[in-house]
């Protein structure tokens, strides 16, 4: 799965998270920070992670979620590494 394909999928998820300002989703890149740039409430990060598990058919380790950073790159990396672990 290409990284841009994952980013597009993440933006689809973010469009369902109604606490995020939808206008900020036009130019999401790997450097975009959920909390600093998108003003995502920190409590929503677990929702995004759970929805990413469903969308990309992966199951994250609890420790990986605990250590997850707040940029799009962080979660793209986690999705890819989790898929590689099988």
């Amino acid at each position: 799965m290409e990284r841009q394909e994952i980013i597009d999928g993440l933006v689809d998820i973010l469009r369902t998270v109604r606490t995020i300002d939808q206008e900020k989703l036009e130019n999401v890149t790997e450097e975009t920070d959920f909390i600093a740039d998108l003003k995502t409430p920190s409590t929503e990060m677990i929702n995004i992670a759970a929805k990413a598990e469903q969308k990309f058919d992966v199951e994250f380790d609890d420790d990986d979620i605990d250590d997850l950073g707040s940029t799009v790159k962080d979660i793209v990396d986690l999705i890819i590494s989790t898929k590689e672990k099988g």
Binding site: T16, R18, T43, I46, A49, A50, K51, Q54, I65
Partner: protein
């Protein structure tokens, strides 16, 4: 305890009411003598699993709301859409349905009160809103998915706590209006609505706050309904409009209903100084407990002590007594006799608004206070629907040797209870509500002179 000279005015109100578009629609239907109780399709769909199927319910569509269900968890409300854009998406995400009703009702009440943003956001503005139950739909669905369907906790998302906690309505209202004063919820079962307003009254009366948004909420939920259905205390066997029949000999239980009542209170002199429209003035509030160790049965002595506490050293002579009047066999009889014992047999009327919309549980006291404000405004006593025949015989407890209350049967007090609207001069109304656990609340309000 009271700060010298501080009185409390009611300056705004709002709410969510069964089968009504808004506050004005609610008022018009009440004075037109209509019943707001309907057959509830959700209860009927349960067939023999449920006993009662009539209800004063409010659908999401009737409030222009829509649930967005989770894609991760079965039948779990993830958030809501407000099709009238009254509540921002960020606030909807932390709400259950009752919290959304509370926020919409608060917006109405503050608009009617005419508070500025500076006043609303002040340290002197509080929020006190409670409910008779927990966030049943959110927690029930979450627990089912976790315990039975073995879903991970994170699949439930991060809003199970804020949408299920006891003071979720107050918390959501406070986050919406950004007040900096008190934010709390009082719980006292079916006395909750009046109890929260009574507590808010004291906050102002004691000099702790200048303004408080307060009231009670009970969101439409089968999860709440079935608990009472199991107790066999709900009305059964009548058409919806005839199901709630306070004081009538054939009453066989209350109609479980849902709704929300919010009022805006303000220190009287401040409200008067800024030219606010004062809907009513609160004369006094008192609450107590039966003290007899009985969770459910009403107490004649407890209610008499309630009146004594309400009177205090004030002259209270109501033109109307707005009773709890649930339409249960024991409750109505004890209540009518305690009112007569204290108030005598003449010079006032009894109003039992549950006859028109059922028992809104934690919202009842707040919504019924709003109906009392309506009666002050319209100078009319609302009708007690279906109170067709009052018992011409003594109640069994009146025949016991230790009974020291009125010795006449309920039918002797027919003249106090009317099935039709009564037009009369109304300057003062006493509101009564009681709850499981033997808790009793009373508030006296007066027309602003």
């Amino acid at each position: 305890m009271m700060a010298e000279g501080r009185r409390v005015a009611i300056v705004g109100m709002g709410g969510a009411f069964p089968n009504c578009k808004d506050l004005n629609d609610f008022k018009q239907k009440l004075f037109a003598g209509k019943s707001l109780i309907r057959d509830w399709d959700k209860a009927q769909a349960l067939g023999k699993a449920i006993r009662s199927t009539v209800c004063g319910y409010i659908t999401e569509a009737e409030m222009s709301l829509e649930t967005i269900y989770s894609t991760l968890v079965l039948e779990y409300p993830e958030t809501f859409i407000d099709h009238l854009n009254r509540v921002p998406n960020g606030n909807l995400a932390t709400s259950d349905i009752g919290s959304i009703w509370s926020m919409i009702a608060t917006q109405e009440a503050i608009k009617m009160a005419g508070w500025t943003n500076t006043e609303t956001e002040s340290e002197q503005t509080g929020v006190v809103i409670g409910s008779g139950s927990a966030g049943q739909i959110i927690t029930g669905t979450a627990w089912h998915n976790f315990f039975e369907l073995k879903r991970k906790s994170r699949a439930l998302g991060s809003h199970t706590v804020d949408r299920g906690m006891v003071y979720r309505h107050a918390a959501n209202v406070s986050c919406l209006i950004k007040n900096k004063g008190v934010c709390e919820a009082i719980g006292s079962a079916c006395a909750t609505g009046l109890g929260n307003i009574g507590y808010a009254y004291r906050l102002i009366n004691f000099g702790i706050q200048d303004r408080v948004v307060c009231g009670g909420v009970e969101e439409t939920a089968l999860e709440t309904f079935i608990g009472f259905d199991a107790m066999q205390v709900l009305s059964k066997g009548f058409s919806p409009a005839e199901s709630s029949r306070p004081f009538d000999t054939s009453r066989n239980g209350f109609v479980c209903s849902f709704g929300c009542g919010i009022v805006a209170l303000e220190e009287y002199e401040m409200a008067k100084a800024r030219g606010a429209k004062i809907l009513a003035v609160i004369d006094n509030y008192h609450n107590n407990s039966d003290g007899d160790g009985n969770m459910f049965s009403p107490s004649f002595m407890g209610q008499k002590r309630l009146w004594k506490g309400l009177f205090g050293d004030q002259l209270i002579k109501p033109d109307v007594v707005k009773v709890h009047g649930t339409s249960t066999p024991v409750g109505d009889a004890i209540e009518l006799l305690s009112v007569v014992d204290v108030m005598g047999e003449e010079s006032y009327h009894i109003s039992a608004p549950k006859s028109q919309f059922g028992h809104m549980l934690g919202a009842a006291g707040a919504v019924e206070l709003i109906t009392s404000i309506f009666m002050l405004e319209e100078q009319q006593v609302l009708p007690c629907l279906n109170s067709d025949i009052l018992n011409p015989e003594l109640e069994p407890f009146q025949k016991l040797p230790d009974w020291d209350g009125p010795k006449k049967p309920l039918a002797e007090y027919r003249h106090l209870i009317s099935k039709e609207n009564i037009h009369k001069s109304i300057n003062q109304i006493v509101c009564l509500n009681y709850g499981f656990g033997g808790t009793n609340s009373a508030m006296s309000i007066s027309k602003h002179q």
